[in-house]
Symmetry: C2
Subunit: 146 residues, 2 copies
DNA sequence: TTTGAATTTTAGGGTTTCCCTAAATTTAAG
DNA sequence: CTTAAATTTAGGGAAACCCTAAAATTCAAA
């Protein structure tokens, strides 16, 4: 099999951020920018990026930035699917504002199981966009039965 | 002030377990038993117990077992409140069975904010027992307004 | 085209959290 | 009293994060 390793919660934060910047905002992912977003030093970002690179989740060309691999993209989307489904739950059921829904979802998404997310998805009629208008990626195991 | 330190996710697991055994099942909390429940070695349990003791969350009499302090009891109840409110959500909304609801709740309770839990509590009419019939502790900040 | 400022990476550490084995201790049952 | 079972101490180890200082690289402006 491909050398597919699991990501830590912290690495998950990086993946989500990188995907959003690169794939959804077409912005260049700079070490400095990421460092600022996450409140760490540039050297730390480089280190994490090298770990993600060893896990084949992204390609890293020294001094030139990163590009998510197929695996990294898939992983980022899985995480963002969880994040956004949780946002839907927190908004629609709990009268949260989008800002708070996102904040809460950020704390929980990494820990929510695929099954739980799919159950919520089903309960909310398989929504296709989250409160912030971002697309909610689909999951082949999430049947729209009935 | 009392030297009140924050607990790690792992320590939270110990607190929940100890509270359930000692306060809800009136069972003696044995190092060996805890070790078996959590899948670690007895020496590890002793170590964690000493940490919790330093944080004044429980009292430890060497070779004789532990007793939660006021602070430890409060902390355990806060955690179990979160756990059980999440169980209500997962059961009632998502057609989960109690077993799975509990499993999912266990992964998320530590990370759920007080505000989020109170919002769920409100949405479900301030339930007083969870799917397993255990009591859901109340939170002074969770208003039964309306 | 050179050069210097900005960005990025390397080198070398440090802390915290969690867990383990082996060797004492202590308890408690017979 | 003695000894088996339970518990604790002693001494480590690995993984996850983060940092500073110094070196490398890029790039844009003279």
């Amino acid at each position: 099999m491909g050398t597919e390793l699991s990501v830590t919660e912290n690495e998950a934060r990086y993946l989500k951020l990188i995907y959003r910047k690169q794939c959804e905002e077409s912005a260049k992912v700079r070490t400095t920018t990421v460092a600022k977003s996450l409140g760490v030093r540039p050297a730390t970002v480089t280190e994490v990026i090298q770990n993600l690179s060893e896990k084949n989740l992204l390609r890293h060309r020294r001094y030139h930035g990163v590009e998510l691999t197929k695996g990294g993209t898939t992983e980022a989307r899985k995480l963002l699917r969880k994040h956004r489904i949780l946002e839907v739950l927190f908004m629609d059921i709990l009268n949260y504002d989008a800002r708070n829904a996102c904040k809460e979802a950020s704390k929980l998404d990494y820990y929510a199981s695929r099954d739980l997310i799919n159950a919520i998805c089903r309960a909310y009629g398989h929504p296709e966009i989250c409160p912030c208008e971002k697309t909610i990626f689909s999951d082949s195991k999430c049947k729209k039965n009935k």
